[in-house]
């Protein structure tokens, strides 16, 4: 059972994600450089955070045109769980795999701080062990994290249950305080906050269990190392 961690030029949370998947949750994981192909036997894909291509042009937009994206699109269609965190979320949005856009934060500054998420959809492969409306203490770290969709799309997201996480408080000006969304099938999830930074006790002095459940949900979906 293998998780592919995609590495773009400028990804910088790839090793953090790998550490959490393997050392903490005992999953098998492998890095894939953005110019490689993804093998068929991959069970899940994670696009980690960072500054792919130095956020040039617009966060995520260049990486969204990387060769590996076509493989990821095929996997998305097949229903394989795909998670994009922070820049990974921005890339999924730019690649058209998730709705909406991510704009500059209302403060116009980079923001690194702890916040609370509220679980809005616990039917995805990354949230199935969480309770609806459960709180997750978790850090955000981004400059372009303000989620935006027009009213029509927002309604559609609500009807299809595509809002996965929202912020408990007003953080950055996101529409409906949205922090994470999924595609209409629910297998592709993107979120701005960093679950890999909150799933261990030593680095999360508030409560690491809720973030751990994001990874445990994935294990529930794809099984553990065999």
């Amino acid at each position: 059972m293998k998780v592919g961690v995609i590495v773009f030029p400028g990804s910088n949370c790839d090793r953090d994600m790998y550490h959490v998947l393997t050392d903490v949750f005992n999953l098998k994981a492998k890095f894939f450089w953005h110019e490689k192909n993804l093998p068929k036997n991959i069970d899940a894909v994670v696009l980690p955070g960072g500054f792919s291509y130095g956020d040039r042009l617009r966060a995520g937009v260049i990486a969204a045109n990387s060769p590996i994206i076509s493989d990821i699109k095929k996997m998305a269609e097949k229903g394989i769980p795909i998670l994009g965190v922070c820049n990974g979320f921005q890339i999924l949005v730019e690649a058209g795999l998730l709705p909406g856009v991510l704009l500059k934060n209302e403060s116009l500054n980079f923001m690194c701080e702890w916040t609370n998420l509220i679980v809005k959809n616990n039917k995805t492969p990354f949230t199935n062990k969480l309770k609806l409306n459960q709180k997750i203490p978790i850090p955000i770290a981004n400059g372009e994290g303000r989620y935006y969709v027009d009213k029509k799309t927002l309604n559609r997201l609500k009807i299809n249950n595509q809002i996965v996480f929202s912020y408990e408080n007003k953080v950055n000006g996101s529409v409906s305080q949205i922090a994470g969304v999924c595609n209409s099938d629910g297998n592709v999830v993107g979120m701005m906050p960093h679950p890999e930074r909150a799933a261990e006790k030593e680095i999360n002095q508030i409560d690491h269990k809720p973030s751990s459940l994001i990874f445990e949900s994935l294990i529930q979906t794809i099984g553990v190392k065999n």
């Binding site: 953090d16 500054f51 956020d55 980079f110 680095i203």
Partner: protein, 719 residues
């Protein structure tokens, strides 16, 4: 650009011919104060540099410390003051970039950044505010993009930095001891230039930094590109894993001239290079400009012919340029060619070792004119004074700054910015605690005591997390060293630092000297900055907020030491008085005892007592626990209340102790003969100080919290 008399003589005696145009440029860059340390090098030798954890290798640009289990940490500190004063965003960003490449050149991955920032009076000076905002943005932009967490530092404001900026950046690296680059080279090895292209930015940067800041020479400021730096880090570490690197050096001040001559000198080799092989950003760059350009994000790598194709392949993967610019020769010469034409041919050690200077020193006259106490003390209520201090730019929370830095990436940050020190977890189960400290106000009044004080304060801060100091880096920043009075302050500082380092057995593993920090308004106050690294063998003390009835113990003696304090300077606008002096015996005893108490898990929280004195340190604890305190100043000292409250005496720690542990704690402190006193408890919703039976200061915690947390942002937004 002209050589000084003794330099001309040195050239004449050694070269015995006229220098070529390129040679003049090369020597001018390498012999600048910035690169050659001509004024300071002789004196830096007094610092102790060895210790049980220190690993010394040829040609390292960073200090290396063994942390056990086959792992090492590396550390380096640099400043980028002149560039940041002209173009704060780019200056500060490239300062970050430079220090990171020093960490990388040892073969270790940079895992943390710290920065010490100093500007003029941001409350009244809009230019200072502009410099501050943009320097912070530059650091954030660069560090965040690289995914290296900025986990600590300090920010200070003083009118002596008017129209100027001090931007000091320290970086820490981590890696396996077996993967450290053992710098070496064989004849015939290739000299590669990897990374960004060479352009006209930063031409003459090191000479620019070796003079007072008078004009705004923007072309001497380098242009940052963190994305290229990130690619270089990954490419270099991959090349290291593939054993492609024999030797490596970062290109910083003085550009190719410095890097080539210094690496050749340290390895005892010669290097022949052709400027036509350097990849350029603009095609019309002259060979001389190529040699002294300080374009960023470039690394010099020496590799064997056999590994050349592998390293090229790695660079291709990351789409960064890699040019073979020269070859290693036996002759120990630095040979610069332009095709077949020789532009410079000088012995590498002649270039790399500029002639040193004995600078005269004399005690500054201003020191004899310093008054001892303020003439008229303002009769403000003490609660008003505490409120003003909590809201003052030097004391108020720097949350607005830290929030812009990604301090979580790398998932090592156990203790986050805003505490006494920052703590990182390492892969061997140990933790590293780091703090940098400076105090120009103390150093101005007494450069020796001030410098020792900064050093002790940084030690205290890492001790508060349960770490034992294992190494230090220093960054000595002064005005023009040709002025004997300024040179005296430099000598006092370095002698003080040396004394303290020796008596505490803390080796100096790296450092830098920066002179000519002055503008038309005059020199800066002496600003030595000390970074201390502490190792925690087991788990760090994660401070727990105080709760009702927790007991407050003050370790260390509070003396009439208000010279250079925030109370004198910010409240009374008074520069004078006695600067806090470290008592080395007490310092050692207190440090050792606090560490023992932490390891016995007898303390809930330990907080260093420094800027703003006891009143501020206690307020910070109260704010963190949203609880008041009741303290009797009679238990602190017999001095008048305001002196007990705001004295900045060193070697003091505030211990937060649960009642059940009180006896144990007191017994141990008594046994170790520490000066300590039980001064009060946490309770209620007021910060309350009494003197004997009379209440002297009362401030509601929520009010204090609001002032402390929100003032800096208000100043920035509203002026």
């Amino acid at each position: 650009m002209s050589f000084q008399k003794h330099e001309k003589l040195h050239i004449k005696q050694n070269i015995k011919r006229n220098l070529t145009k390129t040679e003049v440029q090369v020597l001018a860059a390498e012999w600048s104060e910035h690169c050659s340390y001509k004024s300071s090098k002789k004196h830096l030798r007094m610092l102790p540099t060895t210790g049980p954890n220190v690993i010394v290798e040829k040609g390292y640009d960073s200090g290396v410390l063994d942390v056990g289990d086959g792992y090492v940490i590396t550390v380096h500190i640099e400043s980028h003051n002149h560039p940041s004063a002209v173009e704060p965003f780019g200056g500060a960003a490239t300062g970050v970039g430079g220090v990171i490449r020093d960490i990388l050149s040892a073969g270790t991955r940079p895992i943390a950044l710290f920065d010490g920032l100093r500007f003029g009076d941001i409350e009244n000076d809009t230019h200072a505010r502009w410099l501050f905002k943009n320097a912070v943005a530059g650091i954030a932009n660069y560090g965040n993009c690289l995914g290296i967490p900025t986990i600590g530092g300090e920010v200070e404001f003083d009118t002596c930095y008017k129209n100027y900026a001090l931007v000091d950046v320290a970086s820490v690296g981590f890696g396996k001891k077996s993967k450290l680059i053992k710098n070496h080279a064989n004849t015939g090895d290739l000299v590669l230039l990897i990374g960004g292209s060479t352009g006209r930015d930063g031409v003459g940067g090191s000479q620019f930094a070796s003079d007072a800041l008078e004009g705004e020479d923007r072309s001497a400021v380098q242009i940052p590109d963190p994305f290229i730096e990130k690619l270089i880090i990954e490419a270099i570490l991959e090349a290291r894993d593939e054993k492609c690197i024999n030797a490596m050096k970062d290109l910083g001040g003085g550009g190719l001239s410095c890097a080539i001559s210094e690496i050749a000198e340290s390895l005892g080799i010669g290097i022949e290079l052709d400027v036509q092989n350097v990849h350029l950003r603009e095609s019309d760059l002259s060979p001389d400009e190529i040699m002294i350009s300080e374009s960023q994000e470039r690394m010099l790598v020496i590799t064997s012919q056999k590994k050349f194709s592998k390293i090229k392949q790695i660079c291709k993967k990351f789409r960064i340029q890699c040019s073979a610019i020269g070859k290693v020769k036996k002759d120990k010469m630095m040979h610069v060619k332009n095709g077949n034409e020789t532009l410079a041919l000088l012995p590498a050690n002649f270039v790399a070792r500029g002639p040193l200077i004995d600078r005269p020193k004399s005690k500054p006259k201003y020191l004899s004119r310093i008054p001892s106490t303020p003439k008229k003390k303002t009769q403000k209520p003490l609660s008003k004074i505490l409120s003003q201090l909590l809201a003052s730019p030097n004391i108020a929370s720097k949350h607005w700054v830290f929030r812009q830095y990604d301090h979580e990436v790398g998932i090592r940050t156990v203790l986050k910015p805003g505490f006494d020190s920052s703590v990182l977890r390492l892969d061997n189960g140990k933790s590293l605690s780091v703090k940098i400290d400076g105090n120009p106000k103390h150093c101005y009044l007494n450069p020796r005591y001030g410098a020792i004080g900064c050093f002790e304060e940084a030690c205290r801060n890492v001790v508060c997390s349960g770490a034992k100091p294992i190494g230090m880096v220093d960054h000595l920043q002064f005005g023009n060293p040709e002025d004997p009075e300024i040179f005296w302050t430099f000598m006092e500082s370095i002698e003080g630092i040396t004394d303290f380092a020796k008596s505490m057995n803390i080796p100096c593993v790296g450092g830098k000297v920066s002179f000519y920090n002055e503008t038309n308004d005059g020199p800066i106050k002496p600003t030595p900055l000390i970074g201390v690294l502490g190792l925690i063998e087991n788990s760090p003390l994660l401070p727990t907020s105080p709760t009702k009835n927790d007991v407050i113990i003050l370790v260390g003696e509070t003396k009439i030491e208000l010279g250079g304090s925030e109370y004198y300077e910010y409240i009374h606008n008074f520069i004078g008085g006695s600067v806090p002096q470290v008592d080395i015996t007490a310092s050692k005893k207190n440090m050792k005892s606090v560490l023992t108490l932490i390891s016995k898990k007898l303390l809930k929280n330990v907080h260093d007592c420094s800027k703003g004195g006891l009143a501020i340190a206690l307020s910070e604890l109260c704010i963190s626990g949203k609880i008041g305190c009741n303290v009797n100043l009679k238990n602190v000292s017999d001095m008048p209340p305001e002196e007990s409250l705001f004295s900045e005496s060193h070697s003091r720690y505030i211990l937060v102790v649960e009642k059940k542990n009180l006896k144990h704690v007191k017994d141990l402190l008594s046994k170790n003969k520490c000066h300590f006193s039980q001064i009060g408890i946490f309770t209620g919703d007021q910060i309350m100080f009494e003197f004997v039976t009379k209440p002297v200061l009362k401030l509601r915690v929520d009010k204090a919290e609001n002032l402390y947390l929100n003032s800096l942002e208000k100043i920035i937004h509203n002026g």
